[in-house]
Assembly symmetry: C2
Homo-oligomer: 124 residues x 2
């Protein structure tokens, strides 16, 4: 990740403008608004680089393709809408979670994902 190219600038902008985790395909489509000839391989390569740089963090939701979001946000969790498939951020954590970590293991962290229906799918 040495050079600043139009593709990399476009991908970074996509994340800055989207408030939620994105899949590689979502990134590709959004980036094409700015750089129409960008290829999927560049998206994967750039995401990998941004992960190594610590600029992006992976968001893995059970049963879904991996998504990515800007790193460095305060610790938070995610909500997966099983109706529309989108993933949203959920603020807050509880010390009670840490107390659930199993004895004898060296726990480095946790992932918590809620699932159900998001506000707009709920109404239907």
């Amino acid at each position: 990740m040495i050079r600043s190219t139009s593709q990399r600038r476009a991908i970074r902008r996509v994340f800055e403008e989207s408030g939620r985790p994105l899949s590689p395909l979502e990134i590709l489509e959004a980036a094409r608004d700015e750089v129409p000839r960008i290829g999927i391989a560049t998206v994967y390569r750039t995401v990998k680089g941004l992960l190594e740089d610590g600029w992006l963090a992976a968001v893995q939701v059970p049963g879904e393709a991996p998504r990515y979001e800007i790193a460095g946000k305060p610790h938070h969790h995610h909500f997966h809408c099983r109706s529309c498939g989108a993933v949203f951020d959920v603020q807050g954590c509880s010390p009670a979670i840490k107390s659930l970590s199993p004895r004898g293991y060296q726990t480095e962290g946790h992932d918590l994902v809620f699932f159900g229906r998001c506000p707009s799918c709920k109404r239907r």
Copy 2:
């Protein structure tokens, strides 16, 4: 899932004898001890059928291939060892988790995965 075949009996036995979630490849290898010519397609087809029957439940750990375990266990969470890659069951839950679910969403459940090092990897 109408007929009882040696392949299906073998796959069920593999789950009954393993106390932890298994990936399709782990299932294949263990089942081959009993039915050497079993193919990966049969594993996928059988897992799918057992999921539909409610006999198996999917266990998705961030960044890992899907794993499966016998369904109907009491609600529990998982621990993912980032050193050896194995996944273990973690007993217990806290009502504090439910209180974290976001307002405005219809929450149907949650997945909680701890990660770090398992007891045997911890020592090294």
